[in-house]
Amino acid sequence: MLMTAPPPDTGPAVPADLDAVFTDGRHLDDEYLVRRAQQGSTAAFEVLVSRHQEQVFRVAHRLIGERAAAEDVAQDALVSAWRALPGFRGDSAFGTWLHRITTNAARQLLTRRRPTAPLDGDEPVPERDLPEERVVAAARTEALRAAVRALPFDQRAALVLVQFEGLSYEEAARTLEVPEPTLRGRVARARRALLQSMRGWQ
């Protein structure tokens, strides 16, 4: 058990009743809340959860494609975040760090269930000769959704972070812990694959 003295706390003074403050903690920034949570405050973490759960669920949903499994992934990701919090050094924004945890949780779920549940091939074939433009458009959107789901996981994750979440290539590369050229290659391959499947669908 190697120990040194605790680092000096440079944050604002801690009020005696943390919970009372955090129930109205909307004005506190992530950085401060992360530091309090790292010191063991579940109330601070709760504010972070309520602030970021939308993002975590949205990404999980895009990576997984169905709501029930996406909720499992989102829950696991946020709980893992609590456990991993002491190791979070603030090199990136808390939200970016959550992206990485969410992606890993989704990858884990898909690896576990791969033998029984194929991700593609079970989609209903859209009707191709319906006259209404809207129905066709809806079917096209559904086909695109299926095409995104059918991408290899690494390509899908790259595409989701860059195209859907608006991360820069550099941010996405750091989030997924791959070199930037690799990340760029994955996004480009994903876009080419989507283009091809949408042409095949027409």
Partner: protein
């Protein structure tokens, strides 16, 4: 829309006119400047591919704009699990400049027990006798692979850890004739000092249960 024959073959990545498809992808998706604007204006292959790419880009934007609201209660369910972990977690966690120190809860329990035993008037010391089943289940779920032994688990149950903060519960028997409030105070001081010296953790609370008189 493109017709077969006139369209690019995206799998090969190069249009019949020799332009790399990736260059056009970068142009549409990332807003990069066209490499050869004059060629693009007249080349049917490039124009078709660009139209296709723009359509895909629009559709992806549409997909990205679709709301995916989290299910009601997601945050509550997360905090329920976090709460259990925070109270009955297996490790106290001390982030340092050059790494993280984790101290197993049963180690804290052992240190606390020894510290309590040094107090005059204390007979025997135990951790919390019966851990709440909810706590055991949660701990098993979180540490399925490398779980501690039942004895370690039982010993740790009287210890609540969150980060570097520790709450200790000790059950002890007292020697007859010793005033109990004074004894409990002495045990608290001994536990706080002992745990802080050996683990550098903050003991924020020591609950002392006097369960019996030692014979």
């Amino acid at each position: 829309m493109t017709t077969p024959g006139s369209s690019a073959r995206p799998s090969e990545g190069v249009l019949p006119c020799g332009v790399e498809l990736d260059a056009l992808v970068a142009q549409v998706a990332d807003g990069r400047r066209p490499e050869d604007p004059a060629h693009q204006r007249v080349c049917p292959h490039c124009r078709a591919a660009l139209a296709d790419l723009r359509e895909l880009d629009d559709e992806l934007r549409g997909l990205a704009a679709e709301p995916a609201p989290p299910p009601t209660g997601l945050g509550d369910r997360v905090m329920e699990r976090v709460g259990v972990m925070a109270t009955h977690g297996w490790h106290a966690v001390v982030p340092e400049r050059d790494g993280t120190t984790r101290i197993a809860a049963w180690v804290v329990a052992l240190v606390a027990r020894r510290a309590a035993l040094t107090v005059d008037g204390v007979g025997d010391v135990r951790g919390q006798a019966t851990p709440p089943p909810a706590a055991v289940a949660a701990v098993r779920a979180e540490y399925a692979d490398a779980g501690p032994t039942p004895a370690q688990r039982a010993g740790a149950m009287g210890i609540g850890v969150a980060g570097r903060k520790v709450v200790v519960t000790v059950q002890l028997t007292a020697r007859p004739g010793v005033p109990l409030p004074g004894l409990a105070g002495a045990v608290r001081r001994a536990v706080v000092t002992g745990v802080r010296e050996l683990t550098a953790l903050d003991v924020v609370e020591v609950d002392v249960h006097v369960t019996d008189l030692a014979e």
